[in-house]
C-alpha cells in the first residue's frame, strides 16, 4: 500500500520548514451515513516529527481535525540531506511512518 504521508522539508540555514499532507478519513464519530447510522470515530490521535532522534513537532489530534489533514510548521536547525521521520497513530491503533530527506 502506498504511504499515507507526503512530506516536504526545506532547510534555509537556521530553520527548516516542513509541510505534510496525510491521507486519513479523520472521521469524528459525529457524522451519520446515508442510512442514518453513526460513522464510527476513526482519526489520528498522535502525529510525530523526529529529527536527530528528538521530536521536533508532536500533535495530539482529535475529532475536530478534518479529512486528509495538512500540517505546516518550522523548527530550528535541520541540515540539508538529513532525515526527518514522520509517524502517526490513530484511535484504532493503526500506524504509518515515512522518512524524508531535508532539501
Amino acid at each position: 500500500m502506498a504511504s499515507t504521508i507526503r512530506v516536504r522539508a526545506i532547510s534555509s540555514g537556521e530553520t527548516t520548514e516542513v509541510q505534510a499532507l496525510i491521507q486519513h478519513p479523520m472521521d469524528s464519530g459525529f457524522v451519520k451515513d446515508a442510512k442514518g447510522e453513526i460513522i464510527p470515530p476513526h482519526f489520528i490521535q498522535e502525529l510525530t516529527f523526529e529529527y536527530g532522534g528528538k521530536s521536533v513537532f508532536v500533535a495530539d489530534w482529535g475529532a475536530a481535525v478534518s479529512k486528509d489533514p495538512y500540517v505546516k510548521f518550522s523548527f530550528k536547525g535541520g541540515k540539508k540531506g538529513d532525515d526527518l521521520k514522520i509517524s502517526w497513530v490513530d484511535n484504532k491503533g493503526a500506524t504509518d511512518t515515512a522518512t524524508a530527506k531535508i532539501q
Binding site: R6, R8, Q19, A20, L21, K67, D68, Y70, K72
Partner: protein, 287 residues
C-alpha cells in the same frame, strides 16, 4: 386619426426601425452569435475586475480576494487533490478486463485533450462531455459505468485535466444548427432563474462574483470550469462538474436533473465555449 396620434405613430415606427437596423446584417434578431457572446462575456469580467489578468480568472474565488489568494498559493504547494490525482493516473493506465484501455477510446491516447471537451457530436446530434465520453468508453469495453458524482469519475477527470494543464480551452461550435441550438440552450439554462430561491447561475456568478454568499466568496463565471474537477473543502473530497451542477441546483431548492442530462451537457458546452482561450488549471482546490 388626428395629427398628434399620427406623429406618435410615426415616431414609434422610426424608433422600431432604428432598433431593427442595429442588428448586424445577415443575422436575424434571435440567431445566437457565440463569437460576439464570448467577446462580451470576457469583456464584462475583465472590465469588472481590471486588476485580474484574463488567465487568473480560472482561480475562481482566489482571484477575487487577496487573503484567500495567499492561502491558496500556500495550499498549491501541497494540494489536497494529490491523492485523487494519483488514483486517477493509476485508474487511467489500468487496462479493462478485455485488455483494452481508456487510451484506445480517445485521441492522442487521452493525454492532453481535456481542453477540447465538451464537443458537439454531429452523428449523435448532441453535446458530448468528457465525463460522458469516459463512461461510454467503459461501457463499450464491457465495464460498468461510474457514478458521475463520485470519486472514481473525479479521479479520472482529475488526471485527464492535469495532462492538459496550461492548455487553453478550445471548444468548437461546428456549422450545424443543432450545435448552435445546444449552445443557445446552455446559455438559456445559465441565465434562467430556478428553484424556490429563484436564482440563476448568473445571479451568483455574473451579478455577484467576489461577494459573499454566507461565508463563501463567489467565483466569476468566466473560467469557472477550467479548474474542474475540484477538491472542495466543503465536501472533504473531490467533485466532478456533474456533482457541482446537481448540488448547485439543490442548494437553490430546485430538484436537480440527472447528471449528463441534455440541459447540463449544453450548459457545460456554453460555459466552456465562453471561456475559450483561458487555460485548463485542473484539478483544482476550492473552499
Amino acid at each position: 386619426m388626428n395629427v398628434r396620434s399620427a406623429i406618435h405613430l410615426a415616431l414609434g415606427l422610426v424608433a422600431l426601425a432604428a432598433l431593427v437596423a442595429g442588428v448586424p446584417p445577415g443575422l436575424a434578431a434571435d440567431t445566437p452569435d457565440p463569437v460576439a457572446d464570448a467577446r462580451a462575456f470576457q469583456k464584462f469580467f475583465t472590465d469588472k475586475f481590471p486588476k485580474v489578468t484574463l488567465q487568473d480568472f480560472v482561480n475562481g474565488p482566489y482571484s477575487m480576494n487577496e487573503d484567500m489568494h495567499r492561502q491558496w498559493e500556500e495550499k498549491e504547494q501541497f494540494p489536497p487533490y494529490e491523492f485523487a490525482l494519483d488514483m486517477g493516473k493509476e485508474m487511467f493506465s489500468k487496462p479493462f478486463t478485455n485488455g483494452k484501455s481508456y487510451a484506445d477510446c480517445f485521441p492522442n491516447q487521452g493525454i492532453g485533450i481535456r481542453q477540447n471537451y465538451p464537443y458537439f457530436d454531429e452523428k449523435e446530434g448532441k453535446v458530448v462531455t468528457l465525463e460522458l465520453a469516459l463512461n461510454r468508453c467503459r461501457e463499450a469495453n464491457g465495464e460498468p459505468p461510474f457514478s458521475y458524482v463520485k470519486d472514481e469519475m473525479a479521479a479520472l477527470t482529475a488526471y485527464m485535466a492535469f495532462t492538459s494543464r496550461g492548455k487553453p480551452f478550445d471548444i468548437k461550435i461546428p456549422n450545424d444548427p443543432r450545435a448552435l441550438e445546444a449552445y443557445q440552450n446552455g446559455k438559456r439554462y445559465f441565465y434562467t432563474r430556478r428553484g424556490q430561491l429563484n436564482f440563476s447561475c448568473a445571479t451568483c456568478h455574473v451579478q455577484s462574483p467576489g461577494e459573499r454568499i454566507r461565508a463563501e466568496v463567489l467565483a466569476p463565471a468566466l473560467g469557472i470550469l477550467n479548474a474542474m474537477p475540484i477538491y472542495r473543502s466543503e465536501w472533504s473530497g473531490m467533485g466532478t462538474i456533474s456533482r457541482r451542477f446537481t448540488t448547485c441546483n439543490s442548494q437553490i431548492r430546485g430538484v436537480p436533473l440527472n447528471p449528463q442530462d441534455d440541459e447540463y451537457r449544453d450548459l457545460e458546452y456554453y460555459l466552456s465555449y465562453v471561456s475559450n482561450g483561458l487555460p485548463i488549471s485542473g484539478p483544482g482546490a476550492r473552499p
